[in-house]
């Protein structure tokens, strides 16, 4: 009977219930969209830059991450390869070489970050192949006798006014102390959105980079790619344990360690969104409190009758809370459906910032929402619990109504 009365009371004052439901639905959708953008958006960014750049776990020389340098290198031995291959979570492992240098094209010159990659493996593990906007991707077959090819990031190509086919001179320092310099052909230029992390990159075949920098068979990084970035910490822990007995000079780090500044900025930004959540809780809370108080004022006589007939105060509390609970469930269902619609354009088209935003060194031009579970279960929890908790205040007030005063007569 309690549920029946609560349910019927919702439809008794349709307009008022509609306004109460609206405050809950608006709160739900706002929270859901915020969550979809913050949790889903950051999730997408993490997926994008780990997939495009860092990978999920990296193996370096133990001092490399703190002080990157040409000499802090490692040898990708068969033992290391075996340990990586045996780990089922790891889908791809790609070796990389890094160094700084000076790039010239005609009279244009700029500092550059040289990145040596294994073209075929890199293409399998990352989205690099699809990011070539002009020209072609690097050939996997390296011919030492042929003029080496390089791929330029969009920013680098703009500064040097490079075109596909341009000749580029690169000067750097060799690991043996010599001056490294060579002539390269620009074979391709990346799209702008590949410049997320570093717009001054010059990519070349890893063998050419090792030859150019006199590194022999040494590399600076093994980037590991997993199916799910959330497994990064677990896999890094396993690898640390397994590699400890093989090579003591190695360090295993997750993408959170590699991109600490970004990770911390992102976490700080996400925690800032709780202010928004608090505002939404207030919207729902005040909306519900206001209407429930009005309802109680109008139904004072009825509560008096129910108490006079022998109903216990807790029954009245239950009836009012159940009424709000049912309304919050209905609102949550409608809110979830509307959120599905509201998130869709944010997922597909995203929000483009007027100017690119740098978060911890990662440049972001737009943010896309995502259908993440938290964008739905969190608003459900917030809306229902806020509504129920807020309705307790007027419910207690109603339960302690004086039946005589409430009924005025008798």
């Amino acid at each position: 009977m309690l549920w029946k009365m609560a349910f019927r009371n919702i439809f008794r004052q349709k307009r008022r219930s509609l306004f109460t439901a609206l405050s809950m639905i608006i709160g739900f959708v706002m929270l859901s969209v915020t969550m979809a953008l913050s949790e889903g958006g950051y999730g997408n960014i993490i997926k994008m830059f780990t997939k495009d750049h860092t990978g999920h776990v990296q193996i370096h020389h133990k001092e490399y991450l703190e002080r990157p340098g040409l000499y802090r290198s490692l040898v990708y031995t068969k033992k290391i390869e075996k340990i990586i291959t045996e780990n089922r979570e790891i889908k791809h492992a790609v070796p990389r070489v890094f160094s700084g240098g000076l790039a010239f094209i005609d009279e244009k010159t700029t500092g550059a970050r040289i990145v040596g990659i294994q073209p075929a493996q890199e293409a399998k593990a990352t989205t690099i192949l699809n990011k070539v906007e002009k020209g072609e991707y690097l050939s996997d077959h390296w011919n030492p006798d042929k003029k080496a090819e390089v791929l330029l990031s969009h920013g680098m190509a703009s500064i040097l006014k490079a075109k596909v086919g341009s000749e580029l001179v690169l000067i750097s320092q060799g690991a043996d102390g010599s001056i490294a310099n060579d002539l390269f052909t620009v074979t391709g230029i990346f799209a702008k959105d590949f410049d997320t992390m570093d717009r001054m990159n010059i990519y070349m075949h890893i063998n050419k980079a090792q030859e150019f920098l006199v590194l022999n068979n040494k590399i600076h990084e093994i980037a590991l790619f997993l199916d799910d970035y959330l497994d990064s910490t677990k896999v890094a822990k396993q690898l640390k344990k397994n590699l400890a007995g093989v090579e003591s000079t190695l360090a295993v780090d997750t993408w959170m360690d590699v991109e600490q500044t970004f990770y911390r900025s992102m976490e700080a930004d996400k925690s800032g969104s709780w202010i928004m959540n608090l505002i939404i809780i207030l919207i729902v809370g005040i909306g519900v409190l206001n209407t429930v108080l009005m309802v109680i004022l109008e139904r004072t006589r009825e509560y008096g009758i129910l108490l006079a007939l022998g109903s216990r105060p807790y029954m009245l509390i239950g009836m009012i809370v159940v009424e709000t609970f049912i309304l919050s469930i209905i609102s949550s269902i409608i809110g979830a459906l509307l959120s599905l619609l509201a998130i869709w354009p944010l997922k597909v088209y995203g929000i483009t910032y007027p100017e690119p935003v740098s978060i911890g060194g990662i440049t972001i031009e737009s943010i896309n929402g995502a259908y993440v579970p938290i964008a739905f279960w969190m608003p459900i929890v917030v809306v229902i619990s806020t509504a129920v908790i807020v309705s307790l205040i007027p419910a207690f007030k109603a339960a302690h109504t004086d039946p005589v005063k409430a009924m005025r007569t008798f």
């Binding site: 009977m1 008794r12 216990r312």
Partner: protein, 228 residues
């Protein structure tokens, strides 16, 4: 006959600042089972306050109420609530049905609180509706009924749980004379046929005429107590 309710030296004093108002003044009487009694008197004579105190809805300043053999003075709020539910039936001036409950559900409500099984509840509702002349309106909601019909449902709700006494406050005040007269005839019939005890608070002459005992209050005190 045995007594259903016994009032002993009931007093009720309201204090407004320094001013004391004796709403009920040293009232004592006993209502026997099967009576059809009316408490009459002008507005402000203390009728409603007296009924409130008899049902435990309002506390007395002094005196005691013995209802169904038990003193209600020292009962806790929850015990009083249960006691009221089990021993008293209420009929209010403005019907006071629960608008979101159907006729059947309104009548069932007290039985539900008493824990009476569904089947028995339904049987009792069907029987009582027939007795008050409202068969077939079980599924209707109060706003779909006339004032007279609503008050009949209120009577059905009051007597269906077999209380010891029905306290009826101005039950005909909101009805036209025809409906009021029909309602009173029906209540009288229930009184005669089923032995239901009624105690009215009223200044309606139709009730006073039909009552078998008339207690008149004046300034909170019993001015006369006449059994016809």
């Amino acid at each position: 006959m045995n007594s259903v309710i016994e009032l002993q030296k009931m007093n009720k004093i309201y204090k407004t600042g320094e001013i004391e108002v004796h709403a009920v003044n040293d009232v004592s009487f006993t209502i026997e089972r099967g009576e059809f009694t009316a408490i009459a008197g002008p507005s402000g004579s203390g009728k409603t306050t007296l009924l409130n105190m008899m049902s435990g809805l309002e506390s007395s300043t002094s005196g005691s109420v013995i209802l169904a053999g038990q003193s209600i003075a020292k009962m806790s709020a929850s015990d009083l609530s249960d006691f009221r539910r089990d021993h008293i039936g209420f009929i209010f001036q403005s019907y006071n049905l629960i608008p979101v409950l159907s006729v059947q559900e309104n009548i069932e409500y007290i039985m539900l609180l008493q824990g009476i099984p569904k089947e028995e509840r339904r049987q009792r509702v069907s029987k009582i509706l027939s007795e008050v002349g409202l068969s077939g309106v079980e599924k209707r909601f109060p706003p779909q009924l006339s004032g007279g019909q609503q008050q009949r449902v209120a009577v059905a709700r009051a007597i269906v749980s077999h209380p010891d006494i029905i306290l009826a406050d101005e039950p005909t005040a909101n009805l036209d004379s025809k409906s009021g007269s029909d309602l009173l005839d029906m209540m009288k019939e229930l009184n005669t046929n089923r032995g239901v005890t009624f105690l009215f608070s009223t200044h309606d002459s139709m009730i006073m005429e039909r009552a078998t005992r008339l207690i008149t209050l004046h300034d909170g005190a019993v001015a006369s107590d006449v059994t016809k």
